[in-house]
C-alpha cells in the first residue's frame, strides 16, 4: 500500500517502545551483578544460580506448572464443547444464560470471582489446595478457550462437512475426520491461552488456595511487596522466556499447518 509516513512511524516506534522497554529493563537487570537495582555492577548470572537454591520458589513453580497443565486441558475440553454448543447448535433452551455465563468472566473483576468461589468451597467444606485452585482456573480460562475456538468454528467452510455427511458419514465421524482437524490450530491456541492465564493468575489462586499450596505468582507477589529484588527479576525473565518460546513455537506450528493446507 502507501509508504509509511513520518508521524505514523513515530507512533509505531513510541507505542512499541512503551510496550517493550519495561520488560527489557527487567530482563537486563536480572543479569546485574550488583544487588542494588539501579547500579550496574557488571554482567552476572548469580541470581539465576540463587534461584536454584530457593526451594520455596521452586516448589511454587512446580505447583503452578501442574495446576496450569491440568486446568488448561480441562478448560480446553469445556471450551470445545461450549464452542460447539454456541457455534453449531443454533437455539437451545437456556442459550442466553449460557452465552452470558461464557462472556461474564472476561470482564468480571477477579476479586469477585475469587471471593465467590472461595465462599462456595467453604460452603461445601472442601479442602483447599491443588483442586480448588485448578477448578477456579478452569472456570476462568474455559471462557477464553471458548471464544478462541468459536471464532475459528464460525469462520469454517461448512461445505466439506456437508459433503462428508451427504456421502453417508455419521455426524461423529464427520466431527473427528473433518471438523476437529480443521479447528486444531484454534484448540492449540485456546489451550496455550488457558495455560498462560493459569500460570499468571494471582487473585483467584490467593482466594482459593489453602495452606501449603502456594503458587508461583503468590510467591512472587509476597516477595515483590517487600521491594524489587534481583532474584525475582531472574525468575520473571525465565517465565517471560518460557511463555515467549511457547507462543512463538505455537504460532510457527500454526503457520506451517496453514501453509500445508493451502
Amino acid at each position: 500500500m502507501n509508504r509509511l509516513r513520518a508521524p505514523h512511524l513515530l507512533a509505531l516506534v513510541f507505542g512499541i517502545a512503551f510496550l517493550y522497554l519495561p520488560i527489557l529493563v527487567l530482563v537486563l537487570y536480572s543479569f546485574n551483578a550488583s544487588r542494588l537495582v539501579t547500579v550496574w555492577g557488571g554482567f552476572s548470572t548469580r541470581w539465576y544460580a540463587a534461584l536454584l537454591q530457593n526451594q520455596a520458589l521452586l516448589d511454587a513453580a512446580w505447583l503452578s506448572l501442574k495446576v496450569a497443565l491440568v486446568s488448561a486441558s480441562l478448560a480446553t475440553i469445556l471450551g470445545l464443547l461450549s464452542a460447539l454448543a454456541l457455534g453449531r447448535f443454533g437455539r437451545f433452551a437456556g442459550r442466553t444464560l449460557f452465552a452470558g455465563m461464557i462472556a461474564a468472566p472476561l470482564v468480571m473483576p477477579e476479586v469477585i470471582t475469587g471471593l465467590a468461589l472461595l465462599l462456595l468451597f467453604v460452603g461445601l467444606d472442601a479442602e483447599r489446595g491443588f483442586w480448588t485452585v485448578t477448578i477456579a482456573h478452569v472456570t476462568l480460562t474455559a471462557c477464553f478457550a471458548t471464544i478462541v475456538i468459536q471464532a475459528r468454528l464460525v469462520m469454517l467452510d461448512r461445505s466439506l462437512e456437508e459433503a462428508a455427511q451427504d456421502l453417508g458419514a455419521t455426524p461423529l465421524r464427520v466431527f473427528f475426520a473433518i471438523t476437529l482437524p480443521m479447528i486444531a490450530p484454534a484448540i492449540l491456541a485456546g489451550w496455550l491461552l488457558a495455560f498462560t492465564l493459569s500460570l499468571d493468575d494471582l487473585v483467584l489462586a490467593s482466594f482459593t488456595s489453602g495452606p501449603g499450596s502456594t503458587t508461583l505468582p503468590m510467591r512472587i507477589y509476597s516477595s515483590v511487596r517487600l521491594g524489587v529484588t534481583p532474584e525475582i527479576n531472574a525468575a520473571s525473565t525465565l517465565l517471560i522466556a518460557l511463555v515467549a518460546t511457547v507462543v512463538v513455537l505455537a504460532s510457527l506450528l500454526i503457520k506451517r499447518d496453514a501453509l500445508a493446507r493451502t
Binding site: L19, F98, A136, L239
Partner: protein
Amino acid sequence: METGTKARFSPGRGWPAPRWLVVALPYAWLLAFFLLPFLIVLRIALSDTARALPPYAPHWTGWAEAWNFLQALDLESFATLVGDSLYLDAYLSSLRIAATATLIALLIAFPLAYAMASAPRRWQPALLILVILPFWTSFLIRVYAWMAILRPEGVLDALLRGLGLIDEPLGLMNTETAVLIGMVYSYLPFMVLPIYTSLERLDRSLLEAAADLGATPLRRFVSIVIPLARPGIYAGCFLVFVPAIGEFVIPDLLGGPETLMIGKVLWTEFFSNRDWPLASAVAILLLLILAVPLLAYQRFARKEAA
C-alpha cells in the same frame, strides 16, 4: 434453499453421545462454579458478621424457614457500605481512576492503531504480533517491571538524573500517577486491537475521494476516520474501563495509601479484617455498578448490528 437448510450439518443428530451432553457438561460446570457462587455471595452479604470460622452467621437454613429467613434478612453490611464514606469514596475514586486510565489509553492507542492500519500490508501481521505478545507475558511481572522503573532512585530517576533533567527523585512510586501508568500499560493491547480491527476495514478510497473534493486532513480525520472507528473505540474503552474498576494488583503494588480502589478494599475486608459479609456486600454493589457500562455497551453493539 429450504432443503439446503434441512440438510445442513448439525452435530446434534445421531451422536452416540446425545447432543444434550455437549451442552450439559459446560453448562453444569458454569452453573456450579460461576452462578451458584454468586448466589452464595448474595446470601453472605445478607448475613451477620460473626467471630467464628467461617466468620459469618447464615440466616438461611432451609426452605421450611423461608419466612424466618425473610424476617431476619439483614441489610447491616449494605448500611455500613452506604453509611461509611470510606466505601463511597473508594467506589467513586475507582470509577475516576478507571475513566482516566481509559482516556489516556485511548490517546496512546489510537495513533498506534492508526499507524498499524496504514502500514504496508505485509508488515501488519508482524505489528499485530508485537502488540499482542506483551499480553501473553505475565500481568504480575509487567506490573512489577514498573516498580523497578518508578521506585525512588529507580531506573527512571537514574535516567533523568543522568540526562541532567532532574535533581530530586520524582517520587512517582506509590502515587495515583503510578497506578494510572500501570493501568494504561497493562490494558493498552485491549484498546489497540479493537481500534485496529475497525480501522483496518476502513476503505481508503473514501479518504482519497474526500481529499479530491478538497477536505483538509483534519476534516477527513474528524468526519471519516473517527466515525468509522467508533465501534472499535467503544469496544476498546469497554474492555479497559470495566476490568480497571475492580483492579487489585495494580493499585496494591504501584499505589500508595491514599490511592483508594474498591478491589483493594474488598481484598482488605476479606483477608485482613475477615469481615466476609462486608466483603460480599462490596462485591454485590460493585457488580451492580459494572452492570451500567455493560448494558450501555450491549445497547450500542445491538444498535450497531441493526
